[in-house]
């Protein structure tokens, strides 16, 4: 049954008379209203990834000063295009799709308020196009906004209008998800939500909070730039701005973890070791994760010492604790699940026997490992009052958020897109071999590039957002040329990572347009976990009866890396000055 707006046969799955079909991989009953909207938002996200990826090339080849592609004026415009398309549009369009998967699809319901969902998509697209237009056409006296269009920096008022339009569109698009949850709980008042739906629900709450925060910041700024109101307090703006500025990244984090639970279960046979513990971790996010935004303002003169101390207090570690729980629970679930399936010999046999040739699995695992080791640990360091001083506004900060948003969220979302191509669009990957290699190339190259960003930032103090540092800092005799060797490694691996990103887009779009159509269960049998998902339901074979010592060893390795990095950062800090020397 093709959708009335079917394009290139992308919306043409077979549904029964009630509009449902059963997914042969997940076993979920999927209504066409949900599926079509997931596809719509997923496809739009890939377009945003393409646009942002083009600007990744110009930005990386500028910061690698051996090439030095752009001058200062053009660089900031390109950097803004890169940031908005990747950090916001690619992420948020995918996240709305995740809400629809985690809500109505997992619960086996139709998507309510479909016209509202479509209107949300139209509004978001209009906002995204307008944001791109206003950034690209920036001219004096306005400046390109990047993500931190701090008042009173002059930025086009139409940019604020466009960003607000996008935010409103996202809230509208989220409404059908909330209505789904409302109906579900009304009809099943005593029944708990499945873990993936629960994660999506927590994501949605954090999302709405962040988005409303965005409106609170952007709308007054827009009114000020249209000269409807006379002024906006700059310190107040910065506080409000970071509700959305960092809040959007918390949405990424929670959505990514939801995807981890979903995909590791489906393609690797992972089971949830303890539902209660995992749910508690999600709830900890709800209460504490927004404190993470504070690290942007820890060097801000406008906030008090009390504000800084509270936002870097043990409360902040409530969110860290939640991440550590997930960091144990997910690999433990994979280990126990695979041992239960008889595929877990030795200490790490469960991991090496896993379906590494399946890009859905490898993307998810690389996301978990690289987010944990590179993104999570550095986030905790930057979130600490004292250590923040050595990271603030250096290129290491850029390394940190590339480690979280690219090595973590983007790679997880790439895995999800690979999954959607097979299960929802019903197309084989254009090349299974290239699809298998892509996560390895992307994660490996981006991992080294991110490591170099952190090194040149934290070790040399190379600043962020500038065009030129290695050659000279204008007006000074100070030279950072000693950082050249690491910048060269950064440049080479950044270009390799971009090439792997191009490969992803080619595979995704190529598979949709030219991929062989899948008919029946056989075409997707390689996606299903060994022994099938039904093993997870066996009440006589509880998952916690299986050992998880491989996960324990991995956690010890992680702890050791964390402690060494932490001590090294503190050592660096102590060397900034010598009291009494």
């Amino acid at each position: 049954m093709a959708h009335s707006y079917d394009v290139l046969g992308l919306f043409d799955n077979e549904y029964d008379d009630e509009g449902f079909r059963t997914c042969s991989v997940t076993g979920l009953r999927i209504h066409h209203t949900v599926e079509n909207h997931v596809k719509l938002f997923g496809l739009t996200a890939v377009v945003a990834l393409l646009v942002g990826g083009i600007f990744a090339f110009t930005v990386a080849t500028t910061r690698w000063e051996a090439i030095g592609l752009l001058g200062p004026d053009a660089f900031y415009t390109h950097l803004s295009m890169h940031a908005w398309n990747l950090l916001i549009f690619w992420m948020v369009f995918t996240e709305v799709a995740i809400l629809y998967v985690g809500g109505p699809m997992v619960l086996g319901r139709r998507l309510p308020w479909t016209k509202v969902a479509t209107a949300g998509w139209v509004t978001m697209v209009a906002g995204a196009v307008a944001v791109n237009y206003t950034i690209w056409t920036t001219s004096a006296p306005n400046e390109a906004p990047l993500l931190t269009a701090y008042v009173p920096m002059p930025v086009s008022p139409w940019f604020y209008a466009a960003a607000s339009l996008f935010i409103v569109g996202t809230v509208v698009a989220a409404l059908p998800f909330f209505v789904t949850m409302w109906h579900e709980k009304r009809e099943n008042p005593g029944k708990t939500l499945p873990l993936v739906a629960f994660g999506a629900f927590v994501t949605s709450i954090i999302a709405v909070e962040a988005l409303v925060g965005g409106l609170v910041a952007f709308v007054p700024a827009m009114l000020w730039r249209f000269e409807i109101i006379e002024w906006v307090d700059a310190a107040w703006y910065r506080q409000m701005y970071w509700i959305v500025g960092h809040g959007t990244q918390q949405i990424n984090l929670v959505a990514m973890i939801t995807v981890w639970y979903f995909l590791t279960h489906v393609v690797a046979g992972a089971e949830v070791v303890s539902e209660k513990v995992s749910r508690t971790a999600f709830i900890l996010y709800l209460f504490f994760i927004n404190l993470g935004a504070a690290h942007h303002l820890l060097s801000d003169p406008a906030v008090s010492t009390g504000w800084r101390i509270w936002n870097t207090s043990y409360a902040f570690y409530g969110a860290t604790f939640a991440s550590l729980i997930h960091a144990f629970a997910i690999p433990a679930g994979i280990e126990a699940g695979r041992r239960k399936r008889g595929t877990g010999g030795g200490l790490f046999g469960w991991l090496t026997s896993a379906p590494w040739g399946n890009p859905v699995f490898s993307s998810t695992i690389f996301s978990i490992i690289l987010f944990g080791f590179l993104g999570g640990t550095t986030g905790v360091m930057m979130g600490q009052l004292q250590l923040n001083m050595t990271w603030h506004n250096t290129f290491a900060t850029v390394g940190h958020f590339h480690a979280t948003v690219v090595l973590g969220t983007t790679i997880a979302f790439m895995g999800l897109i690979f999954f959607l191509i097979r299960t929802m669009f019903g197309r084989q990957w254009l090349s299974t071999r290239l699809a298998s290699a892509q996560p390895f190339l992307y994660a490996g190259a981006m991992g080294v590039a991110v490591l170099m960003m952190m090194y040149v930032g934290i070790l040399y103090g190379v600043p962020r957002r500038t065009v030129e540092v290695v050659e000279t800092i204008p007006g000074t005799e100070f030279s950072l040329s000693a950082a050249s060797p690491l910048f060269a490694i950064f440049g080479v691996f950044a270009l390799l990572a971009i090439a792997a990103g191009v490969l992803f887009v080619l595979l995704a779009v190529g598979s949709l347009l030219f991929g062989k159509r899948i008919d029946g269960r056989d075409g997707v049998s390689d996606l299903v976990a060994d022994g099938g998902l039904a093993m997870a339901e066996d009440p006589d074979d509880p998952v916690h009866a299986y050992e998880m010592r491989g996960t324990f060893v991995l956690c010890l390795v992680f702890l050791a890396a964390f402690v060494i990095t932490y001590l090294l950062n503190w050592y660096l800090l102590t060397q900034l000055w010598s009291i009494g020397a």
Binding site: P141, Y455, F478
Partner: protein, 237 residues
Amino acid sequence: MTGSTDPDTTASPIASLSRVATRAWRDLLSIYYANTPIWRLLKSAGLLFFGFFCWSASNLVLSYGIDWSVLYVLRAYGFVLILWGPLTHAVIVPSVIRLRRTADGGVRRVIARHGSKLNLSIFLTIVLLLTAAPVSPMVLDFQSALSADSGPDVDPELTCTSTDAEIHCHLSESTGIDHVVVTSGTDEIDRVDEPPFEFTIHEDDLQEVVGQTEFVVELRDEDGDTIRRYRKYTSSI
């Protein structure tokens, strides 16, 4: 049902420790010799990252004047590991394992039996050599390039005063500046090519930007590149 064996509750602590150590050693050996494509990749990539970390961190700590011998070893170890880790697990270990299956005597058999020990010995020898005599690419320089005879930063103070709708500005020093350009909004208001780079502008020539009348003063070098930029608002002069 479970994959583990029940622990022997009657065993002495020493026996338990011995069992744990034996198991850990066997696990370590099994990981070292694991030869599936994914194991090769995971070990190679893991050691590459670990090598980078050891190399850069030890360089950094050494640059702060901490003269611990172990740091020299760690620096050489990390530097060699960047190449030797992937080489070992992507090439040498698989080759040794293949030789063990196929070598029927002679040198091939000796290499098959002692290949890993040979590989580790060469690796450790290179590490020791580079510890004693580090080559320049492995020594990262973290020290500032500033020296006693380097010139000062170009960072003069810009002072402006306003009298009868005229604004007069001057710089506290002129060293390192080729010319000064004054803009307001989209217009260039003035350009000064001679020291001491004083200038006078009229408020009527200035544009209102974001609700405030402002002008921007840029200090530029002989190539026209901006060295310093100051934004001034008439309301605050």
